[in-house]
């Protein structure tokens, strides 16, 4: 999985690409750890625009991020949902757990 990390003001964006699965664990974690440590950031947008596959361990990673972000008073927003990624998140009803942005 590719991860591009962009911080501007109180908004941080993690742009993901490729397969978001079990093997992405370390990369995803190190990407968001930096952002969680940045005090100015209030909102973390996870952009799924280029993601073509999402498995259940990826959902677990999102839940872990949500828990940590809550602890750091930051909000997690899921964006750029399309295709099977959107379908998987809908079946898991993640709209009840995260803010979703088109």
């Amino acid at each position: 999985m590719q991860i591009a990390n962009e911080v501007s003001g109180d908004l941080a964006t993690l742009k993901l690409g490729g397969r978001f699965d079990f093997h992405s664990h370390r990369d995803f974690r190190s990407a968001y750890d930096k952002i969680l440590d940045t005090n100015t950031v209030r909102e973390i947008v996870i952009d799924f625009g280029e993601v073509d596959y999402l498995d259940s361990s990826a959902l677990g990673m999102l839940l872990l991020l949500r828990e940590k972000a809550d602890g750091a008073s930051k909000r997690v927003v899921l964006a750029g949902l399309q295709g099977t990624v959107k379908q998987v998140l809908e079946i898991a009803n993640f709209g009840k757990l995260f803010s979703i942005r088109a």
Binding site: F22, D55, S56, S57, L59, G60, M61, L63, L64, R66, E67, T84, V88, E90, I91, A92, N93, F94, K96, L97
Partner: protein, 600 residues
């Protein structure tokens, strides 16, 4: 031995050469063992297992090449390089030596500088080699440990999933693991009152980690089902259990379903699994339950919803639950089997068993020999329409040995408790602890739940059973019930159980009184009837008829807001017979769950 310290074996018949090498080794912090001929070299090699060997080629008796060959033939688990020492004109011997198992050579006379460099070079190579070997051993140990854990996991999972409930004739299922065993969990059990509860749980990931997450569900599912708790309460308890023990990134997608053949309803709670499907006999999807909840183990108790969707079925068919391993099974081109693939495979076959086989065949064809990257499971329940309203004649009751202790239980519930308590399983859970009542658990559940639901639904909530007979009426009834129960602020239901001896028999009297306005029991269908089939297809009134059939006496009083029933528990045998009498346990086993004999 530390990685920097080496033991050298120096084989040379010229003491001066051996001493020079030993001195250099000593300077570098290594130790040296000396041998002056071939036999001594082999003996010392066996005794001290050196790390590095310097070997003179030309020696009296056995030459260095022969010694090297002998050493290489010895069984050993460690590699000790052999460096030959040779005169400049022995090039042919060097080649033979290397072919015999030597690793390197030095031309004599070698300066101390060269010897030092050579020893250091081998020290580095040996350190690296030891590290590689240690890693390989560690990896091997990990592998053995992982295999052992998998073996244990597979054993426990197979025991947990091999419940008798899954062998129910109404059920067909398959579970194909992505790993050595599946983390998908299938459960099925009969609730008292003949409702069939099933669970298909898919923990995040697969293999042992997934199985470990799903395991805690089985116990809660089976014990709550056996006690007759409603599906929403079971879902809440399963969620609570997982939330309290799983880390935040672990969760379990689950579909829970209750199939009630008597009332012709299918109730489903789906959190994170693909749609549950009801396929009719023409192979069409007649009903569908999408996931309306996040998976189990994520939401805290107060945010979790156990809300189910209940649908009345008017035709027979098969209820199909599956994990996303099935819908996301990929063909070689990466295309998903998807819900369309599932429906297509199901529609091609008739009957639960062949449909299950067709589904399995369908997904295997789709995978085209590739392994699935997630556990793939499905559970099918054959749902019949049973138009026979007549209840079979009463079951033989097991005899009770010894005198019967009389007992009473009286409870009174106000609106506060009625709003959240599962009164029927809670009260019966206690009452059926009484040994004499245990074999009657299923029958008592039918009687008591019918009486209690009448008191609550009609007495306090003012619901009209006739609603259920309209098209879409059952769903409307359930919605009204939910709304009125949530808004219930007054009212009371009194319950009393009294078991006592009546002549030579044990009987259980159950009475209920609600604070509602009552009903005209003389005009209610079934209330005064015999319990025989009247050909009445209405969905209401059947309950009372059933109670009348199962009990010896049913008496309404007051405004119809009080009911008293008498249930025959057993004949009393006060004197224990010495021979030929079966023990009480045997009698109970033989009786089994009376509901099996009773219904439909």
């Amino acid at each position: 031995m530390s990685s920097s310290h080496l033991t050298l074996l120096i084989v040379d018949d010229t003491p001066a050469n051996a001493m020079q090498l030993a001195a250099v080794a000593g300077e570098l912090g290594h130790s040296a063992i000396l041998a002056s001929d071939g036999m001594e070299a082999i003996a010392k090699f066996k005794a001290s297992s050196p790390d590095l060997i310097f070997m003179d080629i030309m020696m009296p008796g056995m030459d260095g090449i022969t010694v090297a060959r002998r050493i290489r033939e010895l069984p050993t688990d460690k590699w000790a390089p052999i460096v030959f020492l040779s005169a400049p004109d022995q090039m042919r011997d060097i080649v033979r030596g290397l072919e015999a198992g030597g690793d390197d050579y030095l031309v004599k006379p070698a300066s101390s500088q060269i010897l030092r460099a050579k020893i250091n070079s081998y020290a580095r190579i040996l350190a690296l080699q030891r590290e590689v070997q240690a890693n390989a051993e560690e990896l091997q140990n990990w592998r053995l440990e992982a295999e052992e854990q998998s073996r244990l996991g597979a054993h426990v999972m197979s025991r947990l999933t091999d419940a008798a409930g899954l062998r129910d004739p109404m059920i067909r299922h398959f579970n194909m693991p992505a790993d050595t065993f599946s983390g998908d969990l299938l459960c099925a059990a009969r609730a008292p009152g003949e409702v069939l509860n099933v669970l298909l749980a898919d923990a995040a990931g697969h293999g042992l980690a997934a199985a470990l997450s799903a395991m805690p569900l089985t116990q809660a599912f089976y014990s709550m089902t056996a006690k007759g708790f409603p599906l929403p309460s079971i879902a809440e308890e399963l969620n609570r259990k997982l939330k309290s023990i799983l880390p935040p990134d672990r969760f379990v997608a689950a579909t829970l379903a209750a199939i009630d053949v008597r009332n012709q309803t299918v109730e489903v709670w789906n959190g994170g699994n693909p749609d549950a499907l009801f396929i009719n006999t023409r192979g069409k999807v007649a009903m569908q339950w999408a996931s309306h909840h996040p998976p189990l183990g994520i939401l805290p108790d107060k945010l979790f919803s156990g809300m189910t969707e209940t649908v009345v079925f008017h035709e027979p068919g098969d209820l199909v639950l599956c994990s996303d391993g099935l819908t996301e099974a990929e063909n070689p081109a990466g295309g998903w089997f998807a819900l369309d693939g599932v429906c297509a495979a199901l529609s091609q076959a008739q009957g639960c068993e062949t449909r299950c086989a067709s589904l399995l065949q369908g997904v295997n064809d789709h995978l085209a020999g590739q392994p699935g990257h997630d556990d793939i499971s499905a559970l099918l329940v054959s749902v019949p329409i049973n138009r026979r309203r007549q209840v079979r004649s009463t079951t033989p009751t097991p005899a009770h040995h010894g005198p019967l202790a009389e007992w009473r239980l009286a409870l009174s519930f106000g609106a506060e408790e009625l709003r959240y308590l599962d009164v029927v399983p809670a009260v019966l859970g206690f009452a059926t602890q009484i040994q004499a009542l245990r074999p009657h658990q299923g029958t008592l559940f039918l009687i008591f739940s019918e009486l209690f639901n009448n008191a609550l639904d009609h007495g306090l909530l003012g619901l009209d059973s006739a609603t259920k007979s309209w098209i879409g009426g059952f769903e409307l009834y359930m919605r009204q019930r939910g709304a009125r129960l949530a808004g219930l602020h007054g009212g009371r239901i009194d319950i009393a159980f009294h078991m006592h001896q009546e002549k030579s028999r044990a009987v259980l009297d159950i009475s209920l009184a609600d604070s509602g306005p009552g009903f005209d029991f003389e005009k209610c269908p079934g209330a005064l009837g015999s319990g025989e089939d009247t050909g009445n297809e209405l969905a209401y009134g059947r309950g009372i008829a059933l109670v009348k059939h199962l009990c010896e006496q049913v008496v309404y009083s007051g405004n119809g807001n009080q009911v008293w029933v008498r249930y025959g528990v057993s004949d009393l045998i006060v004197e224990q017979e010495e021979t030929g009498a079966e023990t009480e346990d045997e009698a109970i086993t033989r009786q089994g769950d009376n509901t099996d004999l009773l219904l439909f």
